[in-house]
Symmetry: C2
Subunit: 248 residues, 2 copies
């Protein structure tokens, strides 16, 4: 298990018009879905994926993400997502990513933290049996952006209510995590998004949400265009996020 | 232009878990997006597609759809969508579809009406110059479901307001037409959708909607589980639809 060629895994994509946001760019929701896809393909390729975990009634879950983009792929661009494992311990594995443009130039990076969930108990599982994948951590790959920070509660927030509807629910019978991010992005106007883009985005997924649950979108504006955000059902946070906008 | 092999065009797909609805089936929104995709590929292949129209400042727009499904593809199914032109006149072209399961057995049909829009004037264009494609209408293909009916206004309706947000807007800077359908489906609960499925769905697209526009979803329950629906901005209908539900 695990030979040197498995250390890096990459997949190439094409950005179709139907996938683009109103600014003709790749939306952050699609980018995070692609990170999950590439991580899943790599995990399958090295033997720690779905096939290995399903018999143990376990599944990988994405716990935290930090993405930093200097440029987003534009409509009809090809782009590549490359990933490698950067750490593993008894409870978590970290995985880093580079996003490359058609010429192979890095246009962004992502750092992620994953846990394994027991699908019967819905509790985190011990992943010590996978610690051999530490051999697959590349010695020479550095991800030049900060890890996701510790998710902190918002304070002094403005709150916006939302109730989850049928089309927010996915095949797993809970709210699709892309909807969390869309709910956050929807707090800004089209003209704001025309003027500013997300240069850094962090999200920590904390709890699943269900059909017809009413939540609050809570936003706290910090300095320098940074916004701390939380989706919460009463006292229970579903996710916490940090959004940094810059002029386009 | 146009040889007999061009009369039928088909594309094969795989239904991923991420694409499925909570019932583990293909959502009607994805099905209609696939119809548009296959129609676009066929139009390009026979020389009446994007490449031909863009120089004339014109583009195909889907005007009306009727879909009738005896069974929807399930998670991890392969399926095929096959299309052919069924009529063309000075203003409209009709195009029919079969949806086939892995074994090639028909599991549904669709009938569509298309117009060409002048992208400068936003008015319908004369398509007489394409009337040669009448030679590509197959002599022996019959689509065994009714055409979309004339869209009629709803009366005695219950109205539900909705305001379009940032993530409803697509790269064309108007509300994505899939969102119209999602707004309709969201008027029913998860448990309703668990119990019933759409066996026939008709929609007529009448007007584009824009960011921050407030609309009403209007529903009128007819007999036999049939619902007439309309999305409207004041007096102006954006779309009119007819939904027929049956027990799963």
């Amino acid at each position: 298990m695990g030979n040197p060629t498995d250390k890096l895994f990459e997949n190439r994509y094409f950005l179709t018009p139907a996938e683009c946001n109103p600014q003709g760019r790749m939306p952050i929701t699609l980018l995070i879905n692609r990170l999950i896809e590439v991580a899943t393909l790599h995990a399958n390729a090295i033997g720690i994926g779905y096939g290995t975990l399903v018999g143990r009634h376990e599944t990988w879950v994405l716990s935290r993400v930090a993405v930093e983009m200097s440029r987003y792929p534009a409509v009809n661009d090809h782009y590549t997502i490359r990933t490698w494992i950067s750490s593993i311990n008894r409870l978590f594995s970290e995985r880093d990513f580079e996003i490359l443009d058609t010429q192979g130039t890095p246009i962004g990076y992502a750092r992620t933290v994953w846990a394994v969930l027991n699908t019967d108990t819905r509790q985190g599982a011990d992943i010590s049996h996978m610690e051999w994948v530490a051999d697959l951590i590349p010695a020479d790959k550095v991800c030049p952006v900060d890890k996701p920070s510790r998710p902190r509660p918002v304070t002094g927030y403005a709150a916006h209510p939302y109730r989850f509807t049928y089309c927010d629910i996915d095949v797993n019978r809970h709210v699709n995590s892309s909807r969390y991010i869309e709910l956050l992005l929807n707090q800004w106007s089209l003209s704001f998004h025309d003027e500013f883009r997300l240069t850094r985005f962090e999200i920590a997924y904390m709890r699943e949400a269900h059909y017809n649950e009413e939540v609050e979108v809570r936003l706290q504006h910090l300095d320098n265009g940074v916004v701390r955000a939380e989706l919460a059902h009463g006292d229970a946070p579903l996710c916490r996020a940090l959004l940094s906008f810059s002029a386009r």
